[in-house]
């Protein structure tokens, strides 16, 4: 039975000349797998399977390693190449390019992952070596069935979609627009600006956030190449790199943007005050018709329908009465827009950790415990207190302030990761509180992390200003005094790990440097755009070091905090980096894709139509006249579900054909059947 299958499956020209290249990866592979023995084994024991040469080399991916392959292809006439090294996701392109350089079709090269799947995950050297042999045997069998292929090319639509109008998204949008290409910037809130617009000062230079952000926001708003869609959300994404079709819901503002001049009279006259949970972090009020802040871009306000008196009671219309341009439109409906774009940049940002979850810190229960975002608003000159740092009563300046680092970060109960910005942000608060109130400031930290340009210098500066630092994780913030001097204060209970003592420090105000968390709907968004989230919920990049802004889905890029916690300089750098990647694509005008596609061999198709209902991309059509099915290669995404379903074997899938996989199964199990093949 097995015999027949192999004979049927093989193209059986017997002319395969295979080269096997085993990489040491320094000691990464060679430390666990006996690479020298494997190369000898492959050369002798797999000779009858077409292996002409087998070599091992320290670093196959180095230029010397690649030259080795190229030389063998030319001199030994290799027509198939196996590279046993790392994951194909890392170096498949490298080795395919090497083959192409030597005149061999790149798709005749196959990688076997003996690092990620063997040496890094197994410790038993004998078993690991045996497994590596089996995998190489599988690779050799598979590659014999490879056929030369041409990459698919798709045109790239020069328009780009940027989702999220924080600083990272703004940067991306401006870079691309400045280069002369069209950008659609979609923002969920009524204005762009993101979290940065809420800040007062930015570390370590202490320049005012509004001063550096507002000009950029204005450029976005007025840029001829940017279509700004605020108060809008992406509903659906179809298509693939180069040709995405994006459905955007432009929520009804109840304001006619054509007529509105942004004069602000409606906000002045609106009688309804609403607590502003978003921009003012719950510390201030806005009206039911509002722009989040005076510098908002665009300048058009939004009517907050659930809170508007007119929608509630049917009367009021104060805004309409006073609007000088008749821009209020209570009957406006959501608009559904369809955008055609070639690439998408996701800059959806972060959400602040809900500090209520750490019950022993008392946020939400003890009034004078604040979160970092609240303090950003308190320190902001345009904030609810005009920049006065005061207690919850709105007037008393604190005499002693405790800043608790890592609230919700580096804590097994909440988030294991470091939120990156909190140390520097806490130092900034320490400086601002000290400067504006003269209060004594305590910082409670686990470790100080000030690792970036000019950050440690800022730390030194704050130290010199007399801020006090206590190394230890705060156990509790309470309002229950034990001695008279603690009465009316918040008492911070902490183990000072440098002194080795428990301390109780009475303060008037506690600031929790709360963690950055992924957006609540990050998973849904990831699903919508076809990318994945890490265990913590951040979007996963293509490679953590070498490809930090691309994702596994071609044409989708991630920037800013959506990818992981980061500060403003890094968000901007990523925003620009993604823009550069997109611009590179646009300039190329087209892009090569992996030619993984299914196609129907008409002579074999019986017209049973089993495959017809399986394709989610509508790539399969049935021709009633000829009673055969056809697959549209432009729509096919190459999942192979129809290939697996065809009872007649009439559908073939390139790169992952039945022959290739069947042969790989045989190869992987060959050593089980033929134990003598294992020995050298």
């Amino acid at each position: 039975m097995t015999k027949n299958m192999i004979e049927n499956a093989s193209p059986a020209d017997g002319q395969e000349r295979i080269g096997v290249y085993v990489c040491h990866c320094g000691t990464n592979i060679a430390g666990v797998v006996d690479v020298v023995q494997i190369a000898e084994w492959a050369a002798s024991k797999l000779k009858h399977r077409g292996v002409v040469i087998a070599r091992e080399y320290k670093f196959m991916c180095s230029s010397l390693g690649q030259e080795l392959i190229e030389k063998d292809i030319k001199e030994l006439g290799l027509n198939r190449v196996i590279v046993a090294a790392c994951s194909p996701h890392l170096h498949e392109k490298t080795f395919r390019t090497a083959c192409a350089n030597a005149g061999l079709n790149p798709f005749l090269c196959e990688m076997v992952s003996i690092r990620e799947q063997v040496s890094w995950v197994h410790t038993d050297k004998v078993a690991a070596t045996a497994k590596a042999k089996a995998m190489i045997s599988g690779g050799v069998e598979r590659v014999r069935h490879h056929v030369p292929l041409d990459p698919l090319t798709v045109p790239i639509n020069p328009a780009t979609l940027v989702v999220g109008g924080g600083i990272a998204g703004i940067q991306s949008a401006l870079e691309i627009a400045d280069a002369g290409f069209h950008v659609y910037l979609v923002e969920r809130e009524p204005s762009i600006g993101g979290h940065m617009a809420q800040f007062d000062k930015t570390f370590p230079t202490l320049d005012c956030a509004a001063c550096i952000l507002t000009p950029k926001m204005v450029s976005v708003g007025s840029h001829p190449n940017i279509t700004l869609l605020t108060w809008s959300e992406v509903e659906k994404v179809d298509g693939y790199v180069g040709n995405f079709t994006v459905t955007v819901r432009k929520k009804a503002r109840m304001i006619n943007e054509e007529l509105c001049t942004g004069c602000g009279i409606c906000q002045e006259k609106c009688p309804k005050k609403v607590i502003d949970d978003v921009y003012e972090a719950g510390l201030g009020y806005r009206k039911a018709v509002y722009t989040p802040f005076p510098q908002a871009v665009p300048k058009f306000p939004v009517i907050d329908v659930p809170n508007c008196t007119y929608y509630e009671k049917g009367t009021c219309k104060a805004c309409e009465k006073f609007c000088p341009t008749n821009a209020i439109d209570f009957n406006q409906k959501d608009e559904i827009l369809t955008l055609d774009v070639g690439n998408i940049i996701l800059a959806t940002g972060y959400e602040l950790f809900d500090a209520r979850r750490i019950t022993n810190y008392g946020y939400g229960r003890l009034p004078n415990v604040f979160t970092s975002l609240e303090v950003e608003r308190l320190t902001n000159a345009a904030g609810p207190t005009n920049g006065d740092i005061v207690l919850r009563d709105g007037k008393t300046a604190p005499k002693a302030v405790g800043i608790i680092h890592c609230a919700g970060s580096r804590d097994r109960n909440f988030n294991n990761y470091c939120s990156v910005i909190c140390c520097m942000q806490s130092l900034k608060f320490a400086h601002l509180v000290h400067e504006r109130t003269g209060a004594t400031v305590y910082n409670f930290y686990i470790d100080m992390r000030t690792a970036f340009k000019d950050y440690d210098e800022f730390y030194q500066r704050v130290l010199e200003e007399g801020t006090l630092f206590v190394r230890g994780k705060v156990a509790e913030v309470s309002n229950v005094p034990r001695i008279e001097s603690e009465r009316g204060k918040l008492i911070i209970q902490v183990e000072d790990t440098l002194v080795g003592k428990q301390r109780r420090i009475p303060v008037d105000m506690v600031i929790l440097s709360a963690a950055l968390e992924p957006r609540k709907d990050a998973k849904e968004v990831a699903k919508k755009f076809g990318i994945s989230c890490s265990v913590n919920g951040w979007f996963i990049e293509k490679h953590p070091k070498l490809d930090p802004v691309a994702t596994m889905t071609e044409g989708i890029f991630i920037v800013g905090c959506a990818q992981g916690p980061k500060d403003i300089p890094n968000s901007v750098a990523q925003g620009a980096a993604a823009a550069a990647r997109v611009l590179g694509r646009i300039e190329q005008k087209q892009m090569a894709l992996e030619p993984v596609r299914a196609s129907v061999v008409e002579e074999k198709c019986s017209g049973c139509r089993i495959c017809n209902g399986l394709c989610p991309f509508n790539a399969i059509t049935f021709h009633e006249d000829r009673m055969v099915t056809e697959i549209n290669p432009a729509l096919c995404q190459g999942c192979g579900t129809c290939v697996a379903a065809c009872p007649a074997g009439a559908i073939t899938g390139t790169v992952f054909s039945n022959d290739q996989i069947m042969a790989q199964i045989e190869g992987l199990l060959m050593l089980n059947v033929e134990p003598e093949l294992i020995a050298v």
Binding site: M1, Q15, H89, M662
Partner: protein, 157 residues
């Protein structure tokens, strides 16, 4: 022989999630048992049930099928088709008189390296407890021994 039975497992992985979970297990140096050999497919929907039977017939003692979590398929919904086929395969195996527990379906996202590793190890132990399958050992002679093949296939010089 039987007391030191080491099962052989063939694992089918999806290019977008579980193959990356295996990569992640590697980069994180999470250890698991070496009895599994992985095959990469573009999607769990690509899994032709024939592949599974072929693997078992060729000497695998168990087959692990892995894919994206329901609702997270890179190709929208093809992992549901894998789920359907998995149920059919279990029934077919039962009809053959083979324990359905020799095939396992695991959802593993690209972030779940640790889950992937622990599922592999636990499946290996489960199959070890079931014992060797011995399918294809009786009757059919292995086809790939050098001497046999040399008769059939012309080896290039």
């Amino acid at each position: 022989m039987t007391d030191s039975f080491e099962p052989t497992i063939i694992g089918f992985t999806c290019n977008w999630c579980s193959y990356r979970a295996a990569d992640l297990a590697g980069t994180a140096r999470i250890k698991y048992l070496p009895n599994v050999r992985l095959i990469r497919l573009m999607c769990s929907g690509r899994l032709d049930p024939t592949f599974v039977f072929k693997a078992l017939a060729n000497g695998a003692d168990g087959v692990m099928i892995t894919g994206c979590h329901p609702g997270e398929c890179h190709y929208i919904e093809q992992n549901y088709k894998a789920l359907r086929r998995f149920q059919l395969m279990r029934r077919t195996l039962q009809g053959f008189g083979i324990e359905p527990a020799r095939i396992r379906l695991v959802w593993a996202s690209a972030a779940e390296g640790a889950k992937f590793a622990s599922e592999v190890s636990s499946f290996i132990e489960e199959v070890r407890a079931l014992g060797p399958l011995h399918w294809g050992k009786n009757g059919s002679t292995p086809s790939l021994a050098p001497e046999v093949v040399q008769e059939k296939v012309e080896v290039p010089a």
